[in-house]
């Protein structure tokens, strides 16, 4: 048992393990992991937030908002990655980038959409009417009132989505040259018993990264929410 820990320790001390530029390096893989997750989150947010804002403002698509998150939960991310990898290889696209990216964006859509929708819906209707009465256009209501007021709920959705992304990038290592820190785990699995040190160290690295991201997100949520909006009072719909 104890030699597993020493194997993991030795693995951490291997040459280039702390390199920012060598693919063996933990910092290199961390950057890769985070940039993949962040890029997918940004794309997914660009697709969903305006759509959900518009739909919720005009009270359309309520069924979509309520069912999307359940559908999203039922779709196995692992299957999605492999399916897209297969399609990309069939169409002779770059199999290292597109399949994982598209699968990740698809995974991040449901929590972002549902939370944006729920956040906008929960904005006080009287306040919206008051704004309309003072001459706000519909676009101004959406972007100056509903969006900022819904921000805590949207960020809660982004947090759920991002954690899912961080977890899924790791799984992506199975078809992908990258795969961030998941690379070590998948490579370790391929070596059987000899890979246990690498598996353990890689697993710890992924877990630490996820916990740090969670911490960072709670800080962002605290600072990015408009003054006067108390997070405690913000209605948090079911985000799990």
């Amino acid at each position: 048992m104890s030699n597993i820990f020493s194997e993991a320790w030795d693995w951490l001390g291997e040459p280039n393990r702390w390199s920012w530029s060598d693919p063996a390096g933990i910092p290199y893989r961390t950057v890769e992991h985070l940039s993949f997750s962040a890029l997918s989150l940004v794309i997914a947010a660009a697709l969903t937030v305006p759509t959900a804002l518009w739909l919720a403002h005009y009270r359309r698509g309520a069924f979509l908002a309520s069912s999307l998150v359940n559908i999203g939960r039922a779709i196995p991310s692992f299957g999605l990655i492999i399916l897209f990898w297969f399609l990309a290889s069939r169409w002779e696209l770059n199999t290292d980038f597109w399949p994982l990216l598209i699968a990740l964006v698809a995974l991040a859509l449901p929590p972002l959409f549902t939370n944006t929708y729920a956040g906008v819906i929960s904005v006080d209707a009287d306040a919206v009417d008051a704004a309309r009465g003072t001459g706000y256009t519909e676009a101004q209501i959406m972007f100056r009132m509903e969006l900022p007021l819904a921000l805590p709920v949207i960020l809660a959705g982004a947090r759920v989505a991002f954690l899912q992304l961080v977890a899924t990038v790791a799984i992506g290592a199975i078809v992908n040259d990258g795969g961030g820190l998941g690379r070590y785990i998948v490579d370790g699995f391929a070596q059987g018993r000899a890979g246990y040190g690498e598996i353990l160290a890689g697993g710890l690295a992924v877990i630490v990264l996820a916990l740090l991201c969670e911490g960072a997100f709670s800080l962002i949520t605290r600072f990015a929410v408009p003054k006067g909006l108390n997070l405690e009072n913000a209605k948090q719909p079911q985000t799990l």
Partner: protein, 228 residues
């Protein structure tokens, strides 16, 4: 482990022939998938009930348990498997532990919320009739909390069924076996991938429906006001 073979472009996306030929195997993998899901949910439920009982007895314990379950929930599945493999090998145990821990957050929260929603006068009536603390929990509080508990169980079940596919990386079988098999054979087999994904989603939908149905049958008084 990385498949390097490029897809054979002649192979159609879906072949019924393959499904027919592999019917037995599909049933077996479906069974494995269900066994993993059921074990994880049962273990998660037992632990959550224990944590909920402690949370209701000592108020300070609830935020602690919730924070612990929240931290476990944040752990990426592959990371959790990686942490356990060196100790439990590529085994059922390694697969079940993370799956069970992911259910704790939602189950604990829903059990405690459900029990807290039991009207105080109902509880007092039971105590007045001489119910012990344990009997109060088992025959009054838990049944009345059932709709909320089942709502949590539905979310947990659907999430777990999706996650079980990942355990195929541990050689655990289940429907993820087909998803992996699809890219491991010399010519990638899209039918296997699609069968794995579609059956996993179908299983989630069916289990979700059955749980919904059981809630209707077990708690017919609560038709109107159920929310997770």
């Amino acid at each position: 482990m990385r498949a390097i073979v490029l897809a054979d472009s002649d192979r159609p996306l879906f072949e019924w022939r393959w499904v027919e030929r592999n019917a037995d195997n599909i049933l077996q993998r479906l069974g494995e998938h269900l066994a993993l899901t059921a074990t994880a949910l049962a273990a998660g439920l037992v632990v959550s009930i224990a944590l909920a009982v402690l949370s209701l007895r000592w108020r300070w314990f609830y935020p602690v348990a919730l924070a612990g379950a929240g931290a476990l929930y944040v752990i990426p599945s592959l990371g959790a498997f990686a942490l356990l493999v060196p100790f439990f090998g590529l085994s059922f145990t390694t697969a079940v532990i993370p799956l069970a821990t992911y259910t704790l957050l939602i189950l604990l929260r829903n059990i405690v919320t459900g029990i807290q929603q039991v009207p105080a006068d109902v509880r007092e009536a039971a105590v007045g009739m001489g119910f012990t603390r344990a009997r109060l929990l088992v025959s009054v509080e838990l049944p009345l909390a059932l709709p909320v508990v089942i709502a949590g169980l539905r979310v947990a079940a659907v999430t777990t069924i999706g996650l079980v596919t990942v355990t195929s990386m541990l050689g655990m079988g289940g429907l993820g076996f087909f998803i992996r098999q699809g890219i491991q054979t010399t010519t990638p087999n899209p039918t296997a991938i699609i069968v794995g994904i579609v059956l996993s989603i179908a299983l989630a939908v069916v289990v979700d429906f059955l749980l919904w149905l059981s809630e209707r049958l077990l708690a017919p008084w609560a038709r109107k006001k159920v929310r997770a």
